[in-house]
């Protein structure tokens, strides 16, 4: 794993990608730090970080696009998979290398609260907690990008796919608010989701009976649930889905100064989930 980590890290700095990524993130942090804190005189760096999550949408795809896709294209995955190293270690080594590249601008950002402290009042506790959670959100997005990169051998597709997925996660709270709130609207949306799941199941297993049974059982459950407890369907989708919002946790830290321990755990477990899925994608390709 260490060998893979070292190789990946070196490859980021042998090519332009590592430098471009770091320059981009540092530039955006620097501009917002200057505008908000230095010129604007606002003492909280946490607030600045909270307002630049959008930089992930551009920077993370640049960082993650080649991580798995390039191996497929150059067929070097054949080397990694026939060497005495497990897929989990390959995925982890690559992930940690990207996290290390991402840590460079975060280390520079860690000086910002100190600069504020030297010039007046500062809130070091919330600032550093926010830097931590901002870093963890970045790690989560990196794991998303790595998963997308494992699905294709084209870096371009990986980059655009990651951008699309991150955009969806970024806009999630707003999108969720447009979902139907009435009980019957929720029921209809659930039927659509159910059909989607059944179709996905069919395309994966090619088992008509199984997907039809899932669809039928789900339909009955929705209809019965709607007839018996229609009121609990009110705002069900927004309530459930908004809890999956990735940026909410950062907002808690940055805007409301709340140390959201559950949110930290949410970030870490989501990251672990995406890394696990990446391993599964690689394994699945071996067995197909």
């Amino acid at each position: 794993m260490i060998a893979i980590y070292k190789r990946e890290l070196r490859s980021y700095f042998n090519s332009m990608i590592g430098y471009i990524f770091i320059a981009l993130v540092v530039a955006i942090i620097g501009i917002y730090f200057m505008a908000n804190n230095l010129v604007g005189g606002y003492p909280r760096f946490s607030h600045t970080l909270g307002s630049i999550v959008f930089i992930f949408l551009i920077a993370i795809p640049i960082l993650t696009m080649k991580s798995m896709a390039e191996e497929l294209r150059l067929k070097t995955d054949q080397m990694l998979l026939t060497y005495p190293v497990s897929v989990t270690k390959v995925v982890l080594g690559k992930f940690l290398a990207m996290v290390t590249v991402f840590a460079v601008p975060m280390l520079l950002a860690a000086f910002c609260p100190l600069i504020i402290a030297f010039n007046g009042t500062s809130y070091l506790g919330t600032d550093y907690a926010t830097i931590l959670v901002f870093f963890l959100l970045g790690c989560l997005f990196i794991s998303v990008g790595q998963l997308v990169s494992a699905l294709t051998e084209s870096q371009i597709i990986a980059a655009f796919g990651t951008f699309g997925l991150l955009l969806l996660l970024y806009l999630w709270p707003q999108l969720v608010s447009y979902l139907p709130t009435t009980a019957w609207g929720t029921a209809a949306a659930l039927v659509i989701i159910l059909t989607g799941i059944a179709f996905l199941l069919y395309s994966m297993t090619r088992n008509k009976l199984l997907s039809l049974v899932v669809e039928a059982v789900g339909l009955i459950a929705i209809v019965v649930g709607y007839l018996l407890a229609g009121s609990s369907f009110d705002r069900l989708l927004p309530r459930v889905l908004s809890s999956f919002s990735c940026t909410k946790v950062l907002d808690n830290f940055a805007a409301y100064n709340v140390f959201d321990l559950g949110g930290l755990f949410f970030y870490l477990s989501c990251t672990a989930l995406f890394l696990y899925l990446t391993v599964q994608v690689v394994q699945r390709r071996r067995w197909n």
């Binding site: 042998n14 067929k75 080397m79 005495p84 067995w287």
Partner: protein, 331 residues
């Protein structure tokens, strides 16, 4: 020692490897022979753990590839069809990475890399970026990573494709010297190469193992059981009866012959008896001069062609024969 047990690989409806079993022992060189798309690469990819089999297993020194992949892979060096090279690294950086990944102890890494570089004649380019190397050198770098640390089993997928004749000779020499102490398995569709280098030939076609043995064994097994005989005689019946009385002659069929006073025959013989001596004496006794008597032992390429052509659909057979001819011409 590596053992392949009942290997099956299915891609959707297509059977790429069909119940393949064989054993490869230490100190021998095994040649995988088969037309394109025969399942050679798939088999090798499964043997090295790159692909998972649909069923079956690969056993190395009693350990299963499915149950203990990380341990088993330590004993295998693999050069895939396309050398898996990180083109942004120099040759020595790349081999250091390979050595670390192979878990070669730090103290031995340098000497092992030097040995691999020496074996593959890479001394002159070790500081250059792989991106800037020619195809032949890239192939050698791929070979260097496969033999790095000298694992017991070395598997090479078409190691000589795309190389110039001198490089091909070098790689064949390398395979020969590796074969003294290791199990070497390499695939090729060039028959002369297999014949020249291998102790043992495995012929694969449509995912099935059609023949397995030393080149000599195969030639013996496949000895042609048809003889061609032309004698000077006016009576076909008499010659026929004379031949059918001999031990080992199964059937006699008349062959076309336009020359007056000559009789040509095709004689089918039992596989374990060679009746040529008896034919000679019988003809001499009957004062029937033999003009020609041909009984061909098949060469490896004929064995290959006959084994693989039997199963080829009529539609492809012309293409395949053409391919066979090219091979023969190449020899």
């Amino acid at each position: 020692m590596i053992e392949v047990r009942n290997l099956v690989k299915r891609y959707g409806d297509r059977l790429a490897v069909d119940n393949l079993s064989f054993t490869a022992e230490k100190g021998r060189i095994y040649g995988f022979l088969g037309p394109n798309g025969a399942g050679k690469t798939t088999t090798m990819n499964i043997m090295t753990g790159y692909l998972g089999p649909t069923s079956g297993d690969v056993i190395v020194d009693g350990r299963s590839m499915l149950e203990d992949p990380e341990e088993v892979k330590r004993f295998i060096g693999y050069l895939p069809e396309h050398p898996p090279l990180y083109i942004d690294m120099t040759v020595s950086e790349y081999l250091t990475f390979a050595a670390e990944l192979k878990k070669i102890p730090k103290s031995r890494q340098k000497s092992e890399i030097e040995k691999a570089v020496e074996y593959t004649f890479l001394q002159d380019v070790s500081g250059r970026l792989i991106r800037n190397l020619s195809k032949g050198y890239r192939q050698r770098v791929g070979l260097a990573q496969a033999i790095l640390g000298f694992p017991e089993i070395i598997i090479l997928d078409e190691p000589t494709v795309g190389l110039d004749p001198k490089q091909i000779m070098e790689i064949r020499d390398l395979i020969r010297s590796l074969g003294r102490e290791h199990t070497v398995i390499f695939s090729s569709h060039i028959l002369s190469e297999v014949q020249e280098v291998c102790d043992h030939v495995l012929i694969i076609h449509r995912g099935k193992l059609l023949a397995n043995g030393t080149p000599e064994e195969l030639e013996r097994q496949m000895r042609n059981t048809t003889l061609e005989l032309t004698v000077r005689s006016s009576s076909l019946e008499q010659v026929k009866n004379m031949l059918l009385a001999l031990p080992g002659v199964v059937s006699v069929v008349e062959d076309k012959n336009d020359q007056p006073g000559q009789v040509s025959l095709k004689i089918e013989t039992a596989p374990d008896i060679d009746p040529r001596d008896d034919i000679f004496y019988a003809c001499a006794e009957n004062r029937t001069p033999i003009l020609t008597l041909r009984g061909l032992d098949m060469s490896l390429e004929q064995i290959f062609l006959s084994l693989t052509a039997d199963n080829v659909q009529p539609a492809d057979s012309s293409v395949f024969n053409q391919f066979g001819k090219q091979e023969v011409e190449e020899l």
